[in-house]
Amino acid sequence: MSQNTTQSRGATAAAATADYLDQRTGIGIAVKNFARKVFPDHWSFLLGEIALYSFLVLVLTGIFLTFFFVPSMGMTVYEGPFAPMDGVEMSEAFASVLNISFEVTGGLLIRQIHHWAALLFIAAIVTHMMRVFFTGAFRKPREVNWLVGFVLMLLGLAAGFSGYSLPDDVLSGNGLRIADGVARSIPIVGSYASFLLFGGEFPGEVIIPRLYAVHILLVPGLILALVGLHLLLVVLHKHTHYAGPGRTERNVVGYPLFPVYVAKAGGFFFIVFGVLALMGATMTINPVWNYGPYDPSPVSAGAQPDWYMLFLEGGLRLMPGQGTEWVIAGFTIPMNILVPGVIIPGLLFTVLGAYPFVEAWVTGDRREHHIAERPRNNPVRTGVGVATLTAFFVLVVAGSNDILATHFGLSINDITWVLRVALIVAPPVAFWATKRICLGLQRKDRELVLHGHETGRIVRFASGEYIEVHRPLDEYERWVRVAHEPKRPVALLPAYDERGVRRKGYRRDALRARVSRIFFEDRVDPVTPAELVAAQAHGEHDALPSASAEPVGALPAAEAAVDRGADAHQA
């Protein structure tokens, strides 16, 4: 240190501190490794960070709120500055929320930031999940991390719902009543589950303290632990990156964590906090003083849960009531609640959690994948994703049907019927349309790679012939469009082996072959190097006929690129 006279005192002190810590904890190795961690640059890789930073904001603002919130259902009479509640009997929980909102300095701001951050947390998780899903970033080796993220999403919903219920206002009580109804709809265990949850008959006197423990201890603790695991796995697996020259399945191209990503990510935290503070300061959220203290009898118009629970509300609103309550041997099976409240979300979440394993089984692909796919290059997966989102969106809209009716001057009955039909019809239509759009985009990619960009320059030859000059793609543009590998349905081995013995596992293989055909029957293969050479050797204009005449690869030309069912015929 002594010979380093040019170094500032601050830097010397920092170095001394680092040295002190390193000698006692050996942290230097970890920091060195971590600081050199490479992250690729792309906006879509920052979506998970929005969720992470929202969570940090939630923890910070949540700690503040715990200082003032009283998790008690004991009754009290509110006396405070808010006139429409003055002298009203209410639970201590609700009174403390009014206190936070109107008397604690900065309380309303922190409360609103907390609630906006909660909505943003789930929105960012969902968007991040969409990015991972549509780019196939859940493939080996990341299936487990997908599951961790999936559980994090469920925990996010649990955190949101438990927090939404804490203020003990009419709206949150309505939500709890629906949760109670859904619990009761489960055959046999339903009423026991409800009594267990509420410590007796709804609403009881224990649910707020219980939800408080869930909301500030159990769920955040689990989220924190799983976020740690989630990030650890990201570090272990390395980040995925998009295809480009020099980017392979064996490397990551990007910038080191220190200093580039520390600056970028750190800066992004402040942007997220800033946006949330802006929203909390200017936009009212969950005005519990409008809803009033909980009382089981009133339900106001416009009673809805937060957006991430709206799909459940939508299911309940769409489900016909008449004839769907089955009475079997004196026991009521309320299908009108069981289907939208338990079965539909159960199905949705099962599909979401299991998808990576289903796709791995269908493709039979056991290799590691570190290059994120373009959504168009896996039309069926993209279609499945869009169809699921469509169903989710229809349910969200159904949950908002009364707001739509008043704001667009529509009949709520008509909306409900249209959405009942849409819930069944729209997802398959969305699947089909998405798949066709993906195939169309792939054809467009082939066309571009083979012929280049249209320039609008028309050239006339001496012979009188006119052609339009096409500008070939540069290395980077082309790479993106040809890097993916062509996919084929898995081949099905015959049912009987050469000695005429029935092969074990044939039926499972047959099923797999059938699903695999659904996935990869319609496809557009990327341009092969041979096709490209052929196209360029003959000049832009007549590349097409010559390419189709030459037997390069399985697919002669762009127009004939969809070899529908070729393998099916062979099999």
Partner: protein, 259 residues
């Protein structure tokens, strides 16, 4: 006194007593009845002018004598309050048939509305227009109004009266633009799908409490813009539009800024 005592077994005594009791009840009712007297008694001229306006603008549907016809209600006995509410909010005269008459800028001025109300009130007795004292928000208890509103009104009009959907395209309108008089009249007369909240159901003092509660809402939300005050749906919409919108923009910007 002796003369009365002598005749107390007279066979007409019960009849006289009954008459006296009826008279007393009537007198007490007249004294205590909350039904407001018209501030200014309508003159014959007002009624005549109202009748002329009625024949030109209302008789097509409600009939020349306001007796109503198929699909159009009779206005005999609806009272001045109903006329004042329907015409001052622009609901009547109706422009087109629909699930319910929408509020729009009123067609008539105050004087014409008073004349129409006087004419309809002259047909048969009915609820009259409340006085300024009765609808003064300052005289009501907003906290009690909040409790009453939540129990009686919020299931259609929403938690603070921003409106809500009913069946088949009908709706409970937003009360944000309603005057205290109109709110009182609506409770008294039950326009469209709204039930009548008579004075036995919600007393005049309680009606005033509700008006006081609704007036409180005009102060705006303490939390900033109220996003329409329609509940979590608009909050969900705005977290995607503003929150995710701004942050996706920021993410694209950060992602594009290569070191």
């Amino acid at each position: 006194m002796k003369a009365i005592a002598d005749r107390r077994h007279h066979r007409m005594a019960p009849v006289v007593l009954l008459l006296l009791a009826l008279l007393l009840t009537g007198a007490v009712y007249a004294a205590l009845s909350p039904t407001p007297a018209e501030a200014t008694a309508a003159s014959e001229d007002d009624i005549a002018a109202g009748a002329a306006l009625f024949r030109t603008n209302c008789a097509t549907c409600h009939g020349p004598g306001a007796e109503g016809r198929d699909g159009y209600p009779s206005l005999i006995g609806v009272g001045a309050a109903a006329v004042d509410f329907q015409v001052s909010t622009g609901r009547m005269p109706m422009q087109a048939t629909g699930p319910q008459a929408p509020a729009k800028p009123p067609v008539f001025d105050e004087e014409q509305i008073a004349q129409l109300a006087a004419y309809v009130a002259s047909l048969a007795p009915g609820p009259s227009i409340p006085t300024a004292d009765q609808v003064d928000p300052a005289g009501g208890d907003a906290a009690n109004g909040m409790a009453l509103f939540r129990t009686n009104c919020a299931m259609c009009h929403g938690s603070i009266g921003r409106g809500g959907a009913l069946t088949e395209g009908k709706y409970a309108p937003s009360l944000g633009g309603s005057t205290p008089t109109q709110i009182y009249e609506a409770m008294l007369t039950g326009p469209s799908s709204m039930p009548v909240f008579n004075d036995a159901n919600i007393t005049p003092e309680e009606k005033q409490d509700i008006i006081a509660f609704l007036e409180e809402q005009k102060q705006g939300s303490p939390g900033g813009t109220d996003l329409g005050a329609v509940g979590p749906v608009s909050e969900g919409l705005w977290v995607w539009v503003v929150g995710m919108g701004l942050l996706l923009g920021a993410a694209v910007w950060i992602g594009a800024k290569s070191a």
